[in-house]
Amino acid sequence: MLTLDAVDAGFGRALVLRGLSFRARPSEVTCVMGRNGAGKTTMLRAIMGQVPVSAGRITLDGQRIETLAPHLIPQLGVGYVPQGRRLFGSLTVAENLDIGLMTRGRGRATRDRVLDLFPRLRERLGQTAATLSGGEQQMLAIARALCLEPKVILLDEPTEGLQPSMIAAIRDTVRTLRGMGVAVVLVEQRAEAVLDLADRVAFVETGRVAEMVPAADLGPEAPQFARYVGV
């Protein structure tokens, strides 16, 4: 389980996260919603050690991680799919996957399992990542994170700007991951996607989680969507 307790984090003097608390459990999809600039990406980056945490604590299965060197955090099993994908564009698909495999010393068997989830990538292993279509790039970004057999996966708006068929494929993947026991943290702006996928929803407002509710308690007309996301 991943927990954030009263976390303050930000850049220099400016705090972006103020007393943010959050948890994500195995075999659950926890969606994170909030307006532009609310701090969703910053929360994920703080988990990865990319944004300095000045107060509070972040733990993975009881172990504090906000005090670790950033490169050790993925080695504990945190997979990250950044907003905007951040693929290694001039490297091939296979090399991007190799980077993910190296993180926790995984090999061919893992790679085969990941490629079974994304057969289109298997056909393009030798192609450079930058030449893939947008949807394929997003698949590669997810596949790269799955190569470390994560306990927790952080997905930052993975369906942003994709066609409907790709969005459906990525939602299927999220369900598969939940079925495999992974704790999925999904930043998602569309209420219908959240209602379809989420077990719990965290609504982020000005750097803190204002409400954390079971998805079953939310309907399409739930007031939280209007209050925190503004649809």
């Binding site: 950033p70 993925p74 990250y80 490297l91 090399e95 980077i99």
Partner: protein, 292 residues
């Protein structure tokens, strides 16, 4: 001598220069590419390689070939270790910020130069070639050792290319070059990659120096020319592009050889400088670099 053979001689001399320059410049290019550090002290790592080779030639008994073989292995390792130390002690603390590291490496240049002057002295000293062999062509004789220099440099560059494209270490370096933060998010220890890259860059300069020192002599101020030429090569070839660096080294080395032989070395430097100016004006990303 007739024109044809004379040109051949000029090209062969130019090729020796090109080979050594390609090694030195690829070290500078690699460090800039992966770390975004403009290493002004790169020429001093070259000088240290040559000076260390002289010490090895004094201390290792037996035929020159043995001392040379030892130098070829040991000197780059010593210089690499020193460079890794400099990275961890100085550049890392500056968070590898481009501007701060330029100033810091200028300081490093001065420190290394003065240290060499203190320990090694102001003299230029020759290091014996590992073997004496003359290649007799129909028109002129040529040093067999120079042929060896070309071959050895080509072998090291091939090894570097294989390392970068075929090994995990190379993949890690390329990923770090593209995106440090994302590399870190996949467990890559960028601090180690930087120290290793700085060491490798310095080692390449040191190998070049060990190869050239039987032809050129070791001197504590010998780092200036290789630094300047490496910058010229890296600007023409495109920053961070190994292929561009190799092609530009060939271009500069060969034109230097030909122009120096037919006219004079000063003219060769003028031509190279003009070439840099033209590249900067018309193709600032370098002849082979990607547009920034």
């Amino acid at each position: 001598m007739e024109f044809g053979p004379f040109l051949l001689l000029a090209l062969m001399e130019g090729l020796v220069g090109a080979a050594v320059l390609a090694l030195t410049a690829s070290g500078l290019s690699l460090v800039f590419g992966v770390m975004r550090v403009v290493n002004v002290a790169h020429g001093e790592f070259f000088m240290l390689g040559a000076v260390a080779a002289w010490f090895v030639s004094q201390w290792v008994p037996g035929p020159p070939a043995v001392a040379f073989a030892v130098a070829l292995v040991v000197c780059p390792l010593i210089v690499a270790a020193l460079a890794a130390l400099a990275d961890l002690a100085i550049l890392k603390r500056l968070k590898h910020e481009p501007e701060a590291t330029i100033v810091a490496t200028i300081g490093l240049l001065y420190i290394l130069q003065q240290a060499a002057l203190t320990v090694y002295g102001p003299e230029a000293r020759p290091v014996p070639a590992p073997f004496e062999m003359r290649l007799q062509l129909p028109w002129f004789g040529w040093s067999g050792y120079k042929l060896f220099v070309i071959g050895a440099a080509a072998a090291v560059l091939l090894g570097l290319w294989l390392m970068l494209t075929r090994t995990r270490a190379g993949l890690v370096m390329r990923a770090t070059q593209i995106d440090r933060e994302t590399a870190t998010a996949f467990g890559i220890d960028v601090t180690r990659v930087h120290a290793g890259t700085f060491a490798l860059g310095a080692a390449l300069a040191a190998v070049a120096a060990v190869l050239i020192v039987p032809i050129q002599q070791a001197h504590y101020l010998m780092g200036g020319d290789p630094l300047l030429l490496s910058f010229i090569v890296v600007i023409i070839g495109g920053l961070g592009s190994l292929r561009g660096t190799l092609l530009a080294a060939l271009l500069i080395g060969l034109s230097d050889g030909v122009i120096s032989t037919f006219f004079q070395p000063t003219l060769a430097k003028i031509v190279a400088t003009l070439l840099v100016a033209l590249v900067l004006v018309f193709r600032p990303q370098g002849l082979f670099g990607a547009r920034a």
